[in-house]
């Protein structure tokens, strides 16, 4: 218990706030690093996920590939890439982008797949083009699951981004490594608590975002009982959608 008190004292010590190695600077680095890694993963995974979800092709390949990606140990990949491109932020970005791709990819195609086929058929029958179907039907209806995927990826990346400090002077991981090596466990635990705190804040933000992205038509059709039961609406499998507005 004493260690926790020491760790909290370490976080609150004004001496640890100043300069480029201070807590605020490290936290911002960590946050920016996390967001960039998730963004890069999104740029890769979302279009591929949409394509798979819309065409229904390549799903088994995507499942197998993302399963494989999930099994890669991030530190091992980081070391391998760093031995190739050198130290700095390149290797951590690659390793964490690989970590973030599977959940986002799964969220993207699962969001499309969860939409009732009759909704898409109706869209097609009223004369919508394929791009209209994707843009105005599938993406809005699939968005909550996609956001859930990004949320899960962000959580994994923010926790694992401590590894950036393995080969670069970046992020909250610096406190973990420095504390571990010099047996300053208050610093190490303090750094860990900051990572947890950051993860909780991001979770809170995503909870709000996830509520906001439920299409208004879907949300208003939702029976009140159902809303009380599930804080995280999954409209795709909700029977209310099949009676949707189109």
């Amino acid at each position: 218990m004493n260690l926790f008190v020491d760790a909290v004292n370490w976080i609150l010590d004004p001496a640890n706030f100043a300069g480029p190695g201070g807590i605020p600077a490290r936290t911002i680095e960590h946050l920016v690093f996390t967001l960039v890694a998730v963004l890069m993963a999104s740029v890769i995974a979302i279009p591929v996920g949409f394509l798979i979800g819309h065409t229904g092709r390549g799903r088994s390949l995507a499942v197998a590939t993302s399963g494989g990606l999930r099994a890669i140990p991030t530190l091992g990949l980081l070391t391998l890439v760093a031995l190739w491109v050198g130290i700095g932020l390149g290797a951590p970005y690659v390793a964490l982008t690989v970590l973030a791709i599977p959940p986002i990819l799964a969220g993207a195609y699962a969001g499309f797949e969860a939409i009732d086929r009759s909704v898409i058929d109706s869209a097609r029958s009223v004369g919508m083009s394929e791009s209209q179907i994707v843009g105005t039907v599938e993406i809005p209806l699939g968005l909550p699951l996609l956001i859930a995927g990004i949320r899960s990826a962000t959580l994994q990346v923010v926790a694992t981004a401590t590894l950036a400090a393995y080969v670069a002077d970046v992020g909250l991981g610096r406190f973990l490594f420095a504390g571990l090596k010099t047996r300053d466990y208050a610093e190490m635990l303090g750094g860990s608590l900051l990572v947890i705190l950051l993860a909780l804040v991001l979770e809170g933000i995503f909870t709000v975002v996830q509520r906001l992205v439920v299409p208004r038509g879907v949300a208003s059709q939702r029976p009140p009982v159902d809303r009380a039961r599930s804080a995280r609406p999954v409209p795709g499998i909700d029977p209310a959608i099949t009676k949707g507005t189109h």
Binding site: T79, A82, L83, G86, I87, G88, A165, Y166, V167, A168, D169, R174, F177, A178, L180, K181, T182
Partner: protein
């Protein structure tokens, strides 16, 4: 209900029996129980080693040399870092352990003065706790150093650490986090020698391949490499001279318990007398580059050194 209870009882009994067996095992494994006439080569000597490949090779050399002279050896290798095994040696559970004079001295007394190999060795003898002693040290050393690439050294005619002050480009120090706060760290370089340090890049693989690559790629300009590392030769690195004793001399030295008497001490002293710095680099290289086992490397070295 009854069966669940019996199941739990059985589990408790199993744990208890297991604990008793384990304790009994500890008791019979206690080297202090095995008699005191260690000198005649009849007793079992416990040889330990760090979880560091080079240290394990030296421990294996000690073990093979002792066995070659009629001693029975119990190998307890790869016991983690100094914080873990030092209490084990002090308690008498380990009889022979390859150590490094300066690092051990600093572990025993953080304020030790250090200095040259002989000064460090003398201080170490004073600091060792009751019941432990060091035998003769080898000329082989495996110590910390500030290391640069040959190209960087040539460019600025670097020879010793102080000459880094003449470097005109920004110097970035790379290495594990703890390097930043060590007494020989970047702050000391600036304060003692007026060497401008542009920054510190953490590379947490402990002088491993990533650190070497960063140095060779010129991502960092200086780092801390152990002087017996085969990388110094294979990657054309230069460990800068340290005439002021910034780093403590780290000669290889066997730390022994009271159980190691005259004959065993003679054997280990003969090993130390033969083990040179070049030998140690060669042994490490056989492990890192040729991937040979500690046992093979140790046996080959003993044969080539004409020992036992």
């Amino acid at each position: 209900m009854f069966t669940a209870h019996r199941g739990r009882l059985a589990a408790v009994a199993a744990v208890a029996v297991g604990a008793v067996v384990a304790l009994a095992g500890c008791a019979s494994g206690d080297p202090l129980d095995s008699g005191s006439n260690a000198d005649e080569g009849s007793a079992t000597l416990v040889v330990g080693s760090q979880d560091y490949y080079s240290n394990e090779i030296i421990a294996e050399i000690y073990a093979l040399a002792l066995e070659g002279n009629g001693f029975t050896v119990d190998r307890q290798f790869k016991i983690g870092q100094r914080e873990v095994y030092l209490p084990e040696i002090e308690s008498g559970a380990i009889d022979v352990f390859p150590e490094y004079s300066g690092s051990l001295l600093q572990a025993l007394n953080a304020d030790a003065a250090g200095g040259t190999a002989d000064e460090t060795y003398a201080q170490l003898q004073d600091e060792l706790p009751e019941g432990l002693s060091v035998l003769d040290m080898a000329s082989a050393t495996d110590q910390n150093s500030w290391t640069v690439t040959q190209a960087f050294a040539d460019k600025y005619s670097l020879t010793d650490i102080a000459s880094l002050a003449d470097v005109t480009e920004p110097i970035t120090v790379g290495g594990p986090s703890e390097l930043q706060t060590r007494p020989y760290g970047p702050t000391t370089l600036t304060e003692k020698y007026g060497i401008p340090i542009a920054g510190f890049t953490p590379i947490e693989d402990g002088g491993g391949p990533l650190t070497i690559k960063a140095l060779v790629d010129n991502d960092i300009q200086i780092t801390n490499v152990y002087t017996a590392s085969p990388n110094i030769k294979s990657d054309s690195l230069v460990a800068l001279d340290d005439p002021d004793g910034l780093f403590f001399a780290d000669n290889v030295v066997p730390v022994v318990s009271d159980k190691v008497g005259g004959k065993a001490a003679d054997v280990l002293n003969a090993v130390s007398a033969a083990l040179t710095a070049e030998d140690l680099v060669g042994l490490n290289s056989e492990s890192v580059n040729d991937q040979l086992s500690a046992e093979k490397i140790a046996a080959a070295w003993l044969e080539q050194a004409n020992l036992f």
